[in-house]
Symmetry: C2
Subunit: 458 residues, 2 copies
C-alpha cells in the first residue's frame, strides 16, 4: 500500500483533525535537546481509545510499524521515528475525566501533561508527586511508559507507585482496560505493571487512573555540607528516619565548585567539603514538622556529621536553594560539549564507582572534567562528562568507560531515563541472559511482529 | 513414566533429603484452616535455584505438572495439589543470605518465613513492614507470589512495593535472575512485576531482594468511634494528612457489638455508634510523633468528627486495642459456620455496598448475620457472613450475593488473598474481556502447557 492510501484509510478513522502530514511532520523534533526531525509520512492523532484501537488494527493488518509520541521529552531516543514508521501521538487525548477528592485519585487520558494534572488536582487540595523539570510538556502516558522518577521518589515512589490503573491498546488492536481504582486488588494479574516502564513496546497507553496525596502544608529545605563519604552515608541513614523527608539531593565537589563559582547567590555554604546536600521535608503540620526537621539537623550537627548548614522556609529561599541543585544551565555554559549520565549505584559504592569511572576516562582522554550530582536517597546519580572539544564525537567511548566502571559495582545504566534507542546496544551486557530471554518472550507474545516502537529497547 | 521412575530421576537431582513420599505427603494439609491433604505422589524439596531449575527442566520434558508450596497459609486453595501434580516446596531454601544496614535491603531465599526475616533485620535496627497474622509460617516467596498485604499497607504498601528483585525459574527451567538491588532502575523491563502477584503461574520464585525501612521508634494507637459514614470518611481524609499514619482499621457495628459483648477488656469505647476505628502512628521521633498524633485527634474531636476516643502508648495497652480489631476467634466462636470475604471497594461506596449485599442475602436466606471490618485506608474490607447452620453448604450462593453487589460498585473480589483455585470461577466476570485475553497470552508465552499451578487463576 502506498503512503497516500494508508493516510487515506487512517483519515477515515480519525478525521482530518487527526492527521498531520508534510511540514507539520518534518518540523516536529523527536528529541527535546536537539532537532531530530520525524521522518514519518504521517502523524496520527486519535481522539479516543476506540480510534487508537482502529488505527492499530489497520496497521496490524498491513504490517505497518508505529512509534508512539507523548510529550517527546524523553532523552533516550524513544520517540525517534523513521520513514517506514508512522507516528501515533496522544496529543488530542488530553482530557482530565475525573478528580475524586475523597478516594484521592484522578482519571485522565494519556495526553494530559503532568503540569496540567498537578494544577487541576491542586484545586482540590491534592498533589500528584511526580516531579520533573519537563512537566509542562511530559505527559501522563509518556511518564507511565517510561516509569519516570524525579526529585521526590524517596517519599512517594516512581511513577509506577502512583498509578492505579491503565488502559492500553495491544499491537493487534485489542483494548486492555485495566482501569483499577483500588489500592488493594489481587484479582488476577495486575496488568498495568506490564505496560509501566516498558517504553511503549508492549502496548499504547491511552488512559490511566493515578493516585493522589493530600497537598503538603509544610515545606522546609536545608542545604548542608559534610566532610567526606562516611559522613554523607551517616547523614543519609539519619535522614531515612525523618518521616517527612521528601528529597535528599547530593552535589559532589566537581558539581558544587562549578555552580558555587558562578555567583554568590548559588553558594549557600562554603566550598572545600566532601559533599553538599539539599534535604527537604514536606508534611501536614507546619509547626511540628519544622520542629522535627530542626531536631534532625541539630542532632546531625552535634554528632559531627554536618559541617555547615543553612535552612530555608520561605518560598523564595527554598527556590534559591533548589536553584543550586538545578544548575543544568551552568553545566551547559561551562562544560559543553558533555555527555550526560543517569545511572544508579548502591549508595555504599558511589565514591568508589566515580573514582573508577574517572580512572577509565583518564586512561583514554587527556582532558577529563566531570560534574556529579543526584538523588542519592534513591541510588540515582547524574554525571556530566567533558573530555575536550570533540566530546560529542567521543560519546560512545565515554559511555563505554562509565558503563564499564558501573558493571563492576552492579549499577544500572539508566535509573530514570530508560533505554530507548540510544542505549539499546548496552542493554544485553547489563541484563542477565535469562532476563533477555524473558523480555523477548513477553514482547513476542504481545507484539510478535515488533510493530510498536520497533527500534526501542531490544 | 511411572511415578516411581519420576521420583527416582528427581532423587538424582535433589538427593534423599529433597524427596518426601507416602505419609509425609498425605499428612500435609494444603489449607491452613482445614485438612486438605496433598494428593501428589511426591514433594520435592530442592536446596538451590539450580536444583529447582533441573527439576523443572525434567518436568517440562515429561509434561509433568507442578504445584509450588511456600508456607501453605494461602486461603484461596492456591496450594491444593491433585494426584497428577507433584509438589515443589521451597522449605529447604530458607537462608537469609545478606542484610545490608546501609543500603537497607536483605537478600533471602524464597522459603524464609516473614517472621524469621523480621527478627533477623530487627537486630540491625531495621523493619520489614509486611504484617500478617500468619507471618510465622508464611514465606517470602509465597507472599511475593500472592502480593500479600496486611495492616500497614497504607504506609508502606503491599509486598510489591517492598520487593526490589526476584529470581525465578520459568516453566521450561530457564532461570530469570532479576535480583535488582536498586530503588531506581529503568534498565529494560522490570521483570519482578511479572512474578509478583501472579500466584506462581508464570514462574517459581526462588530468591528475592527485599527493601527494608528503619525500625520505628514510636508507636501510638487510638481507638475512636464516629457517629456515621460521613464522619468516618471525614476522619479518613484527616488521617491521610498524618505523615506518620501506619494503620486505619475500621470496625462496623455488626463486628464491634459482637466483640465488645465478649468482655469488657474488648470494649475500649461505648457501643451504639456508626463505626469504630483503630488509628495507629509509627515514627522516629517519639516525643514529637506523640504531639502530632494528639493534635490530629484533638482537632478531629473539636471538629465534631470523633464521638469518643481512648489512646494507648504502652506496649500492653497497644496490644489490647489491637486485640479488639483481631477478634477472629470471637467470630469463630459466635458466628460459625460462616463464609469469609476479603474484598475491596471504593471508600465512598462501602456503606451502600454492604447494604446492597445484605439486601441480596436477605432475599435468599431467612437468617443473615454479618461482621464487617477491615483496612479502610486501603479500600479493603473483610466480611464474615452467617446464613444459618448450613452456611458452608450455601457458600457458593452466599458468594454470588456478595459478589453481585460488589460488581455494582466496581469492587474487587479479592483484595489480598488472591484467586487461587477457590475463586477461579468468578474471575472472568470481574475482569474486562481484554484483560482476560492478555492474561492468557502472557501465561501461554511463559508456560504454554500450563505446567505450573495448573488449576490456579484461570
Amino acid at each position: 500500500m502506498t503512503d497516500t492510501d494508508l493516510i487515506q484509510q487512517i483519515r477515515e478513522i480519525v478525521g482530518d483533525r487527526g492527521v498531520l502530514i508534510g511540514d507539520d511532520v518534518s518540523s516536529r523534533s523527536c528529541d527535546p535537546f536537539r532537532q531530530v526531525p520525524a521522518e514519518s509520512p504521517v502523524i496520527v492523532r486519535p481522539a479516543s481509545t476506540e480510534e487508537v484501537s482502529q488505527v492499530v488494527t489497520l496497521c496490524h493488518r498491513l504490517g505497518q510499524r508505529i512509534v508512539t509520541h507523548g510529550g517527546r521529552t524523553g532523552v533516550s531516543g524513544g520517540a525517534y521515528a523513521s520513514s517506514t514508521e508512522i507516528i501515533l501521538s496522544l496529543e488530542r487525548m488530553h482530557r482530565i475525566e475525573e478528580i475524586c477528592p475523597t478516594t484521592q485519585l484522578a482519571v485522565v487520558e494519556a495526553g494530559v501533561t503532568i503540569e496540567a494534572l498537578q494544577n487541576a488536582v491542586a484545586e482540590h487540595g491534592l498533589f500528584y508527586p511526580i516531579d520533573l523539570n519537563s512537566k509542562g510538556t511530559a505527559t501522563v502516558g509518556g511518564t507511565i511508559a517510561t516509569n519516570a522518577g524525579g526529585n521526590r521518589v524517596l517519599r512517594w515512589g516512581m511513577t509506577r507507585q502512583n498509578v492505579l490503573g491503565v488502559e492500553a491498546v495491544l499491537a493487534d488492536g485489542t483494548v486492555v482496560s485495566a482501569m483499577n481504582r483500588l489500592i488493594k486488588n489481587n484479582t488476577g494479574y495486575d496488568l498495568k505493571h506490564v505496560f509501566i516502564g516498558t517504553e511503549g513496546t508492549l502496548g499504547i497507553i491511552t488512559r490511566a487512573v493515578v493516585r493522589l496525596v493530600p497537598a503538603p502544608a509544610s515545606q522546609t529545605v536545608a542545604f548542608v555540607s559534610v566532610a567526606d563519604n562516611d559522613a554523607l552515608l551517616a547523614l543519609l541513614l539519619r535522614a531515612r528516619r525523618l518521616s517527612i523527608l521528601s528529597a535528599f539531593e547530593v552535589m559532589w565537589p566537581d558539581y558544587y565548585d562549578l555552580v558555587a563559582s558562578s555567583g554568590t547567590d548559588r553558594r549557600p555554604v562554603e566550598p572545600g567539603q566532601g559533599a553538599y546536600i539539599l534535604i527537604e521535608s514536606m508534611g501536614y503540620n507546619p509547626e511540628l514538622d519544622q520542629q522535627v526537621f530542626e531536631e534532625f539537623l541539630t542532632e546531625a550537627f552535634e554528632a559531627g556529621v554536618i559541617v555547615d548548614a543553612v535552612t530555608a522556609s520561605s518560598n523564595k529561599q527554598i527556590a534559591d536553594l533548589w536553584r543550586v541543585r538545578e544548575g543544568a544551565e551552568i553545566i551547559v555554559k561551562e562544560m559543553s560539549p558533555f555527555v550526560s549520565f543517569d545511572i544508579s549505584v548502591d549508595v555504599r559504592h558511589v565514591d568508589a564507582f566515580v573514582d573508577r569511572a574517572k580512572q577509565f576516562l583518564t586512561a583514554n582522554f587527556e582532558t577529563v572534567r566531570t560534574a556529579t550530582f543526584g538523588h542519592l536517597g534513591d541510588n540515582n546519580i547524574h554525571i556530566a562528562v567533558h573530555v575536550g572539544p570533540d566530546t560529542t564525537a567521543q560519546e560512545a567511548e565515554v559511555e563505554r568507560c562509565v558503563f564499564r566502571a558501573l558493571r563492576e559495582f552492579e549499577g544500572a545504566i539508566t535509573a530514570e531515563h530508560g533505554i530507548g534507542q540510544t542505549k539499546r546496544e548496552f542493554l544485553p551486557e547489563h541484563k542477565q541472559p535469562g532476563e533477555m530471554v524473558m523480555m523477548r518472550r513477553l514482547r513476542s507474545a504481545l507484539d510478535p511482529d515488533k510493530l510498536l516502537n520497533h527500534d526501542v529497547l531490544f
